[in-house]
Amino acid sequence: MRRRFERAFNLSLPAFGIGDVVIALLLIALLYLGTRLAINAPQSVTGPDISLAPTALPWYAFLSTGRMAIAYLLSLLFTLVYGYAAARNRTARLFMLPLLDVLQSVPILSFLPIVLLSLTAILPQRFATELAAVILIVTSQAWNMTYSFYQSMTTIPTELREASSIFRFNPWLRFKTLELPFAAIGLIWNSMMSWAGGWFFLMASEIFTVGDRDFRLPGLGSYLQTAANQNNIPAILMGLGTLIVVIVLLDQLVWRPILVYADKYKVEMASGETAPESWFYDLLSHSVVAQTFSRRVWQPLTEKIDRALGRLFKASTPEQTGVIAEGRPSIAGIVIGLVLLAGLAYAALQALSLLITLPLSDYGRILQGVLATLLRVVISLAIAVMWTIPVGVLIGSNRRAADVLQPIIQVVASIPATALFPVIVLALISVTGSLNVPAIILMLLGTQWYVLFNVIAGTSAIPQDLRYTTALLQVKGWARWRTLILPALFPYLITGMITAGGGAWNASIVAEYIKFGGETYAATGVGALIAEATARGNFPLLLASTLALILTVVTINRTLWRRLYKIAEDRFKME
């Protein structure tokens, strides 16, 4: 439990640079193009009919999992290509890294309305909504995986690299023998994290409805939503049960075995930590069929592939074998870059001309919305921190508590918050009448686990010697918290809160605006504004509020979190 539960964050970059300007232009241009397309979106979109029959559940589960699988494979492909290019090409890296940095801190769900509207404008409705779901999931999964892969690629020990050069590995052999294995463990952990996070966005896109536009997709998310709409408690329970079973099965049959298999890719030469275990992996590795397949089919096949690809990529030239190629931008590259930049600037100007058509009063509403959502994010983070620190410290320092609570928490935490939204709304809306307070609870649902897991990890990472010393010095009560526990937790807490904060902003899009039982409930907030603009087809408002949300989140990340993260790294790190 020592590992910090973090997405591979990239907070060491200089505050703002030229890359950021280009990236800002790029984002504005993309959003503008999306908005332009969206203007032609159909006025009404009809969603699928969702059957609540138990027999329909396996099919829905299959559909949802299928979307996840396709999105994950695309994310993986993106990761390998982008990460490899960024690690190998110095010029490309100047833009690729800041771009990743922004993309991973942007609230992805804010893109959903624009992506949905623009895709339905140009594609058949059903296909457009499916594609939008996959795009959304990819944009939630790819960045941390990519960053982890890039980080691994650039931290390969020099001597291992030199060995592959001196023995003249071709690029394929080098990738297969050195680079991919070295990156494997980080990539797998981040994949698991991305996969778990993907459910959140899948559920969100399966239940997305605004005004007359019903963008829902048949799947477990829409099943749960329909069940909640009809107040059908048995169906809600069945839907949740199926979701949990699917998540647990995938963990046991896919991720655990992969993790166990990948254990051999550990770089530390000493065998210290306990290795992960998987019953399914043991079963497979002892099966005669699997062994025969491996010997008769798999090994000869890889031998052939290696030879073919080895011939395709000739032995590397000396320049490529250095630690990292020191490329210089070519003239053609500069020209292409300038043309692209001009295009971006043009699109950004167009976006600006769309933005000035928006009345000043709407900007006031956006500002009010951003502040209201910010307040919600802060409150939900505060609640999360308040309950997770005592509970997390208890679990982290007490074996018996850990044995009882850990499995329960893991299952509960695996349920994507968006799947629970309809159910929570069903329970709360009659009590409070408005979404203003329930929205906080909805945000909290999705984010508290990141903080909890990090507190547990931080607590169990406190060295035993320090605990003993504190006990010997008779430091107790509040003094013990202040001198030992809180400083030791600080880096973990910050990491957890960065991830949780990002999640809370994301959740605002679906938490602040909900169509339930034929009625629309909206809270005051920027998420609700985005949804409302989508429903009304108010494109300047849609563009302006999306940009405002992105700008706010990126600014908070770049200033507050980055500073705290640096303090955590500099002053409170244990090593």
Binding site: I166, N170, S271
Partner: protein, 438 residues
Amino acid sequence: MATLMTQTTNGNSLLELQQVTRYYGKGAKRFMAVRGVDLRIQPGEFVCLLGPSGCGKSTLLRVITGLNPTSEGQILYKGQLVTGVNPHATIVFQTFALYPWLTVQQNVEVALKARGVPEAERRKKADQLLDKVGLDGFEGAYPRELSGGMRQKCGFARAMAVEPELLCLDEPFSALDVLSAEALRGELLELWLSKSIPTQAILMVTHNIEEAVLLADRVVVMGKDPGHVIADVPVTLHHPRQRKDTAFQALVDKVYALVAGRTAPEAVTLGAAPGSGQAAKLPAATINRLAGLVEKVNEEGGQHALYRLTEDLRLELDDVLPIVEAAEVMGFATVDQGDIKLTGLGQAFADASIIARKEILAGRVLRLPTIRWIYETLQKDDNQRIAEDYFIDQLQNDFGEYARDQLDTAVDWARYAELFAYDERSGELFLDEDESAK
């Protein structure tokens, strides 16, 4: 005529380096690793490159094998200009550089696979080699299951799999425990002397003088700042060589004297203030280690042979040299002919109490131009506090990438002498209050 001769090699040399220079970076931050190295290796020779850390010997090895290009000068292999990785050379690495996720067998095979050797042949050859180095029975083990010595055996087997003509060894024994290293040295020598491997020449980088004298036919001694060849010492002792032998010990002592040099006059040792272009590097030694060394030499009667000192303290040459240099810079000791000798001040320091030592140091440390410059710059400041970045920036002009280390050493020494200190929270250097009040 002579230059013409060197450019058109007579074909006898396996390897020839002509004025090889290698630097990194450019402009003011250019760092010179090695400069103007001439070297020839004949077939049948076992050559050691010996020198303290930072003398560029590992860089030179990478340039020789073609892993890194030369910045100036050229390398000829059998009379041919080397461009790119030399296919006839290979390296055995200090950290073994085995792929942790491949078994011992796979680690050897992958070198053959890269050369397109078919599977069956690969297996057979790897088996033979693993037998030869004594790893039979461990084919299926992963490197993490093996001891350091066995890992390096696997490293040797992998290197020999490609039948290199020139075998380069980059401190191959320095990550091993003493006994494993000794055993492996013997085995390497046996393989080499019995001619049971097709290798034509061995080039080994080491900072262990005894090891070099034990194995090599020639010891090429390198110096630092920037890396250059100081001397080329032939070793004509017959194998098996005995460490206790007088001739052996005399040779070790001689090489030690070459490596440690001789204490230069004070003006040269101290150098000038940063920015003058003649600033001298502060040796990377802490005051605690310096005190330990001075005490040790004092116990030995104020004079001691350096090679005995490293043996007695169970330290590597690389660890001892910076401390010795620090003692020279402080004026606590002088070095000549491989011997270290305490000065009167050094003896006084060894016998002094903790408080008295601080006072001696305060006086000595302020003589060092770099520390004096930092001290005076701080004194001139209104708050007597300046961000470390300012100093690093200035030091970079003289010390390039070592600026940070230089500042760290300066702070360590000045802190001990209570001149100035470093505030980690603000990243600033500040004058020690008591000291400025005096």
